[in-house]
C-alpha cells in the first residue's frame, strides 16, 4: 500500500516500443533479400506512400470504433464517394490539371480534396443519424445496417456515374520521379507521404493538445465517466464520425489519383484492406492503425517484388502473424 508519504517515484509505465520499431525492422530485414539498394529505396518509399494513404482512410474507422464501439462496415462507401466527388471537380478543370505548373495543379487539387472531404463528411452525418443511431449498441444490427448502407451507396454511384471506370489522370507536375543517384522516387508518392504525415500529426496534435482530443481519449477509455463529468458524448461522437468519414473521402481522392482511376467498387477492396489495418493495429488505437497501415503496405510492396504470387494473400498472412503474437492487435485499447 502506498501512503501519502510514499516515495516520489512512480512505477514507470512500460513503454511498449516493439510495434513502433516493427516497420523499421521489417524494412531493414528486407534490404539483403532485395539486394539492390535502389530497388529497396523505391519499394520503401512506395510502401510509405501507400501506407500513409491507407492510414488516412482507416484512421476514422478505428477512432469511431474506439470511442463508441461502432464498427462501420460501410466505411468503404466514403472512400468511393470522395473519389467520385474529386472527379466532379477535376474533370471539368482538366486544362488546369494538365498545366505544367505545380501551383496551378495544387490550386485545383486542393478544392477537389476539400470538396471530397466535405461531401463524405456530410454523408457521414446522414449515415450516423439514419443507419447507426437507430441500432446504437446492437452490434449485430449495426453490422447489417452499415453493410446495407455500403450496398446502397455503391449502387447509387453506379446509377449516377455508370458502371465504367473513370480515368483520373495525375496532374502533370506530379507525374514522373525525382532521380537521386540511381534511386527514382515518384513525385506523387512524396506528396502522398507528406499529406499522410500532416494528417497523422494533425490527429496526434488534436488528441494530445486540445480539450476535444482529451475528451476523445477519455471517451475511448470510459464513455460513462465522460458523460458523468457533464459532456454530451453523442455529439462528440457525431463529430468524430463526420471527421472520420471526411478523412476516408480524402483517402479516396488520393488513392484514385494514385491509381489514376475511379470505380464504384473501389470501396469494397479498400474496406478489406482498411479492416485488416484496423485489426492489426488494435481496434480503437490511432498509433496502432498508423503502424498497421505501414506494415500492410510494406508487406504488399516487398512481397509483390520478392514473391509476386504471395502478394495475393500477404495481408492475411500478416494479419495471422500479428494476431498470433498479440491476439487483440499491436496496441489493444485497455478498456475492452
Amino acid at each position: 500500500m502506498t501512503d501519502l508519504a510514499a516515495t516520489d517515484a512512480l512505477p514507470r509505465p512500460k513503454r511498449d516500443l516493439l510495434p513502433v520499431l516493427l516497420p523499421a525492422i521489417l524494412a531493414l530485414a528486407m534490404l539483403p533479400l532485395i539486394g539492390s539498394g535502389s530497388s529497396w529505396m523505391t519499394l520503401t518509399v512506395a510502401s510509405l506512400a501507400m501506407g500513409m494513404m491507407i492510414f488516412i482512410m482507416a484512421s476514422g474507422l478505428t477512432l469511431v470504433f474506439g470511442l463508441m464501439d461502432v464498427l462501420n462496415f460501410g466505411h468503404g462507401a466514403f472512400i468511393a464517394v470522395g473519389a467520385y466527388v474529386a472527379t466532379l471537380v477535376l474533370l471539368p478543370l482538366a486544362p488546369y490539371v494538365q498545366a505544367d505548373s505545380l501551383l496551378t495543379n495544387l490550386a485545383v487539387l486542393a478544392p477537389a480534396a476539400l470538396a471530397a472531404m466535405a461531401v463524405s463528411g456530410a454523408l457521414g452525418l446522414v449515415v450516423e443519424r439514419v443507419l447507426i443511431l437507430p441500432v446504437y449498441g446492437q452490434h449485430l444490427k449495426q453490422i447489417l445496417m452499415t453493410t446495407g448502407g455500403l450496398i446502397v451507396a455503391e449502387q447509387a454511384l453506379y446509377a449516377l456515374w455508370g458502371p465504367q471506370i473513370i480515368p483520373l489522370p495525375l496532374p502533370t507536375s506530379l507525374r514522373g520521379s525525382f532521380i537521386i543517384g540511381d534511386v527514382a522516387i515518384a513525385k506523387y508518392r512524396l506528396l502522398a507521404m507528406l499529406v499522410g504525415l500532416v494528417v497523422f500529426c494533425g490527429i496526434q496534435l488534436v488528441l494530445n493538445r486540445t480539450k476535444i482530443g482529451l475528451l476523445i481519449r477519455a471517451g475511448v477509455e470510459n464513455r460513462e465517466m465522460v458523460e458523468a463529468l457533464g459532456y454530451r458524448i453523442r455529439r462528440l461522437f457525431l463529430g468524430v464520425f463526420m471527421v472520420g468519414s471526411g478523412l476516408a473521402g480524402l483517402g479516396g481522392v488520393m488513392w484514385a489519383l494514385y491509381r489514376e482511376q475511379v470505380h464504384a467498387s473501389m470501396g469494397d477492396d479498400l474496406t478489406v484492406l482498411v479492416f485488416i489495418v484496423v485489426i492489426i493495429g488494435g481496434l480503437g488505437s490511432i498509433g496502432g492503425c498508423f503502424i498497421g497501415a505501414l506494415l500492410v503496405a510494406m508487406v504488399a510492396n516487398y512481397g509483390g517484388f520478392l514473391v509476386p504470387k504471395l502478394a495475393l494473400v500477404s495481408n492475411i498472412l500478416l494479419m495471422v502473424a500479428i494476431l498470433m503474437w498479440r491476439p487483440r492487435g499491436l496496441y489493444a485499447v485497455t478498456s475492452r
Binding site: T147, I151, A159, L160, I316, L323
Partner: protein, 355 residues
C-alpha cells in the same frame, strides 16, 4: 419427430411451407422448362445454404462474411475433380472427400482464431479471409480456371440425354436432369431437417444462451469458443455441400456463381427477410428472394425503359435491372430496422410491434 419438436407454430406459415415444398416437389412434372427448373433448384440450394447461415447469424449472433467461401469450396472441389478426372462417380466422390474436410478445417481455423474475442472481430476477419480466397480463386487459373471458372461433364446417369423413364409410361419423362433435381431436392431437405435438429438439441440451446449473454454462458461453465467454433464448422459443412449441389446442377463453378460478395449479400438478405433464428425463415426468404430476383428484374427493365421513353431524368438509371442491388440494399436496411424478426417472426407473432 421429423421436425425435431419445432413446428412452424403459425397456421399461415405451415400452409405456406407446405405449398412451397409441394410446388418444389412437382416442379419437374408441371414446369419442365429450363427457367422454372433453374429457379426451383436455386431455391432448394439457397434454402439449405441460408439455413446453415441462420445457424450462425440467428442462433449464435455471429456475423460471418465467409459463408460464400465455404459454398465456393464445395462448388470448386466438385468442379475441379470432375474436370480433371472426367465425368465419373469416382470423381464426384473425390470432390466430396476433398471439399468437406477442407471447408471444415478452414472453418475450424477461423473459428479458433477469431471467435475468442468479439462478434465484430469475427465479422471483420471472415471478410478479410473471404476476399483473399476470392482473389486466390480467380488468380490460380491452372487450378480453378481463373475468372472463367471450370465447366465439366456430369456422370452419364445425371445427363439430360439419359432417359430413365420414357414419356409414354406415366405421361412425363424422367431424364438425368430430373433425377439431378430430385437428388438436390432431397439432399437440401435432409440438410434443413438436420439443421432443425441441431438447433433444437441441447447444443442449440447452448448456442442461444451464448447469443443472449456470452459472459453468463461462460460463467455457467460452457466453453463458448468451442461451441461457436463447432457451429461454425457445421455451417461450413452444409454450405460446402450446398455448393457441391450447385456445381452439379450448373455443371460449372466460377467466381461469380459461387464466391462473389454479391452472393454473400443475397444470403444475408434472405436470412433477414425470412426471419433470423428460425431455420424456416431460410426457406421463406430463399423463395421470396429468388422469385423476386428472377421475375422482378424483368419488371424493372420494363419500368426503366418506360421511364427512358418518358424522358424522365435519373429514373432510367435507378430502375435499370443492373441496379437491382440498390433496391435490395434499401429493402435490407428497412427490414433490419422495421422487421428484425422477418416474415416468419411476423407470422408467429403478428401482434408484436417492430422493435
Amino acid at each position: 419427430m421429423i421436425l425435431s419438436g419445432d413446428p412452424p407454430r403459425s397456421r399461415v406459415l405451415s400452409i405456406l411451407l407446405v405449398v412451397i415444398i409441394a410446388a418444389l416437389a412437382v416442379t419437374p412434372l408441371l414446369f419442365p422448362g429450363a427457367k422454372a427448373m433453374n429457379v426451383a433448384t436455386k431455391i432448394c440450394i439457397f434454402a439449405a445454404l441460408v439455413a446453415s447461415y441462420d445457424l450462425l447469424l440467428g442462433y449464435t449472433g455471429t456475423v460471418s462474411f465467409a459463408h460464400t467461401m465455404f459454398y465456393g469450396i464445395g462448388s470448386y472441389s466438385i468442379a475441379i475433380a470432375l474436370y480433371s478426372m472426367g465425368p465419373n462417380w469416382a470423381a464426384v466422390a473425390v470432390g466430396v472427400a476433398a471439399g468437406l474436410p477442407l471447408a471444415m478445417l478452414l472453418a475450424l481455423a477461423i473459428g479458433l482464431f477469431s471467435l475468442r474475442v468479439e462478434a465484430i472481430f469475427f465479422a471483420m476477419i471472415t471478410l478479410a479471409v473471404a476476399s483473399a480466397f476470392l482473389v486466390l480463386a480467380s488468380q490460380l487459373s491452372w487450378l480453378t480456371g481463373g475468372e472463367d471458372g471450370r465447366s465439366f461433364q456430369l456422370p452419364e446417369l445425371l445427363r439430360p440425354g439419359t432417359i430413365l423413364i420414357p414419356q409414354d409410361w406415366f405421361g412425363f419423362a424422367v431424364n438425368g436432369r430430373v433425377l439431378t433435381y430430385y437428388l438436390i431436392f432431397i439432399a437440401c431437405a435432409a440438410m434443413i431437417l438436420a439443421l432443425l435438429r441441431v438447433v433444437n438439441s441441447p447444443f442449440g440451446r447452448v448456442l442461444q444462451a451464448i447469443r443472449e449473454n456470452r459472459f453468463r454462458a461462460e460463467a455457467l461453465g460452457f466453453r463458448t469458443v468451442f461451441h461457436l467454433t463447432y457451429a461454425n464448422c457445421l455451417a461450413a459443412l452444409v454450405a460446402a455441400s450446398a455448393g457441391m449441389l450447385n456445381a452439379l446442377w450448373l455443371r460449372y463453378a466460377g467466381p461469380d456463381t459461387s464466391l462473389s460478395f454479391a452472393i454473400m449479400l443475397d444470403i444475408l438478405l434472405m436470412v433477414v427477410i425470412g426471419g433470423m433464428g428460425t431455420i424456416y425463415g431460410a426457406i421463406v426468404g430463399a423463395v421470396i428472394f429468388i422469385l423476386a430476383q428472377n421475375y422482378l428484374q424483368a419488371l424493372m427493365g420494363a419500368a426503366s425503359n418506360a421511364a427512358a421513353d418518358a424522358g424522365l431524368p435519373l429514373l432510367p438509371g435507378l430502375l435499370h435491372p443492373d441496379r437491382w442491388l440498390l433496391w435490395l440494399g434499401l429493402l435490407f436496411i428497412a427490414s433490419v430496422y422495421f422487421f428484425p424478426t422477418g416474415v416468419v417472426g411476423r407470422l408467429r407473432n403478428p401482434s408484436r410491434k417492430p422493435a
